[in-house]
């Protein structure tokens, strides 16, 4: 796979989340050759780590299955995993990308039979669950991982565990001598779709994410609600595994804040509204959700979803930016202090669990992209410089929901195709 042949009529897509996968497929289904580069061992990105989508409350893996089938069926898309683009040289229509590929220690022979996982003993943090639990050091990234191939955690290389894994594999799929390699790839256009990452919640000191066990982020809450998550889908709070029936949601955790992220992350209001459904699903009439907000930004058709949640007597809305969180030393409950600005009411509310609707920042801020792009003050790609063919897509360009990310990726695919077609015409 690593010796992917590419020409200046190839489109290089950086990032294998839903935006990158979409851009790659839309371009390939127009008859273009695409190399899709993903730094993780499997495609899918952050959406695979979501339990449900708003507003339909459907499951991200449903669309992933279709997209994976499209990839499997389309020889024009070639996928490089555990690979990172470290350099892009050249000009529009004629780029050379340098790609660093980390060793997976598992080759194409792997049948995903799982024998290696049974053999190894070492446990490592499970990145798929934001390290809320641990997994074997030989693991399949997730149920729908593509490529459907195990990975060895680098920490066990050179240990007896690695040898055990190797011995357990009947198909000589484990190759402990794999080394990091660097390859060069030609491309006529580049689509940069490296997506987003949650803002570092520990930086929001008044909320004590780094001090209080029962203050978690919205992305972690997705894992708690997911049957494939660390608690098997039970909403249990970290401190004592107690059922979290009374949950607080703090909006703009990092967003709309000159001390943190200047921009509005757009999705967080809908995410919290959605997550109140998880609490309801789990605890029915005993569920109690409280959303602390500045403005509820349920934009366009999403308003309907907001209205639905608002009509639920078990969900309360308080117009307030929470001032600080304290922890009850005995119960480990969280106590939120602040003022409801609608009419000025002071509160000190106790909750089982507090979810920070954490803001989005680009996972690769513009200044770290190895090519010239026009960026906004938050490091999102705003535009492509004149005469360049490096196009942003999805959450690398803005805080977007899935729907908008896919739109953005589809648009990016066309911009890349315009360049490729020019090159083709020139060469014809």
């Amino acid at each position: 796979m690593t010796q992917a042949v590419a020409t200046n009529q190839t489109i290089l897509v950086v990032g294998g989340g839903i935006s990158g996968v979409t851009a790659a497929l839309e371009a390939a289904e127009c008859g273009k050759d695409v190399v899709l580069v993903e730094k993780n061992p499997a495609l899918g990105g952050r959406t695979t780590m979501l339990y449900r989508y708003f507003p339909k409350l459907c499951h991200p893996t449903c669309g992933l299955e279709i997209n994976l089938r499209r990839i499997k069926a389309n020889p024009r898309v070639r996928v490089l995993t555990m690979a990172e683009v470290t350099g892009i040289a050249g000009t529009r229509g004629d780029y050379t990308a340098t790609i660093r590929i980390a060793p997976r220690y598992v080759n194409g022979n792997c049948t995903a039979c799982g024998a290696c996982a049974e053999a190894v003993e070492t446990m490592v943090d499970d990145p798929f669950n934001y390290s809320l639990n641990r997994t074997k050091a030989a693991y399949l990234p997730h149920a729908m991982a593509y490529p459907l191939r195990y990975v060895l955690h680098p920490s066990i290389i050179g240990t007896p565990d690695a040898e055990r894994a190797k011995a357990a594999c009947k198909y000589s799929a484990i190759d402990l001598d794999m080394k990091e390699e660097t390859i060069k790839l030609k491309a006529g256009a580049v689509i940069w779709a490296t997506g987003w990452q949650p803002y570092d919640a520990a930086k929001i000191q008044p909320y004590g994410y780094d001090r209080f066990a029962n203050v978690i982020t919205s992305v972690e809450f997705e894992r708690l609600a997911d049957p494939r998550g660390p608690t098997g889908g039970a909403i249990l709070r970290p401190s004592d595994g107690k059922q979290a029936k009374n949950v607080a949601f703090i909006q703009c955790a990092g967003s709309r804040d000159e001390n943190h992220l200047r921009h509005c992350s757009r999705i967080c209001c809908m995410a919290s509204l959605k997550q109140t459904n998880y609490v309801r699903e789990s605890y029915g009439e005993e569920a109690k959700s409280t959303i602390y907000y500045i403005d509820i930004r349920a934009i366009d058709r999403f308003e309907e979803f907001y209205a639905k949640v608002k009509s639920d007597p078990r969900v309360k809305f308080i117009k307030s930016k929470v001032a600080r969180i304290a922890e009850d030393a005995k119960t480990k409950d969280v106590v939120l202090h602040g003022v409801d600005t609608e009419g000025y009411h002071r509160y000190a509310n106790t909750h089982d669990l507090c979810v920070l609707a954490i803001g989005m920042e680009p996972s690769v801020p513009a200044e770290r992209i190895p090519a010239e792009v026009i960026a906004d003050s938050s490091g999102f790609i705003e535009a492509t410089p004149e005469g360049s063919a490096i196009f942003g897509a999805g959450c690398a360009t803005n805080a977007l929901d899935v729907n908008r990310s896919v739109q953005s990726a589809t648009a990016a695919a066309l911009r890349a195709i315009q360049v490729i077609n020019q090159v083709a015409r020139a060469e014809a």
Partner: protein, 305 residues
Amino acid sequence: MAKKEYAFYPGCSSQLRGSASNYLTSVNSMCRTLDVKLTEIPDWNCCGASIGYAESGELPRHVMNARNFALAEKHLPGRDVVATCAACWLGAKETKEKLAANKTLKGDANECLKEAGLEYQGKTEVRHMVEVLIEDLGYEELGKHVVKPLEDIKFAGYVGCQTNRPFGINGESFENPVYLDKLVETAGGEAVTDYDQKVTCCGGALAFSEPEKSQRQIKDIVESAYDHGAEMIVTPCPLCQANVEIYQGEINKKYGTKFAMPVLYYSQLMTVAYGGSAKQAGLDGQVIRAKKLEEIAVKVVPVKK
């Protein structure tokens, strides 16, 4: 030739027989050990403090601070100004920031200073004594001089407001600063790291004008120190020290509590740890005696080779 030299701004409360005179005493002893030379700014004046606002207005307040800078620049050029009082440090730092950002304001300030035959250039930095300790010297250096570790004393590090906000010590969090705990540990004491009233306001200057409200704050601060098993409170701020220490009796009367929690300055801890006498550490200046600390202070230790 001293290791470090600074222009010293003790502030009103630290003067001889001032409410924080014990702070001054201990700072001097501590600095002697650390070979830090403090030269008092000649004829320094009050910073105006935040509480002066009703009459001061903006410019007069800045001018008060600008004067101290001007004096330092004139008499002690090239030396950072070091303040031990949180309010002095904050006031001076704010003035420096504002005058740097606002040309008009700086011009006005100098027009006023001319009246006193002075000029503010804005070259001089102002530092808090704590910054000198942890930034210019570092915990390791501070640790080297410890001869009497403050063994088995539990200290609650009470940082308060103005050493912490809005500027704070570099790299420290507003909600959970840890430098006091580190200083305590450097001095060989035990820090109550999960002390949850670290940055609670003691009422500040309103302790005088709004005693009931302030004493409710102080009650929480002391109570929580007890709850966390602390035997003493340590602070970097004269006003915090005074408020938290001297009103405990009042609080006991009002709330039927039995508070007798010694409240000390970090500098007093360091002085004792450095082998200084109770007097050198200004322990005689405690309204609530820090007995355990006095005991260590009188202990004779074999002089290290």
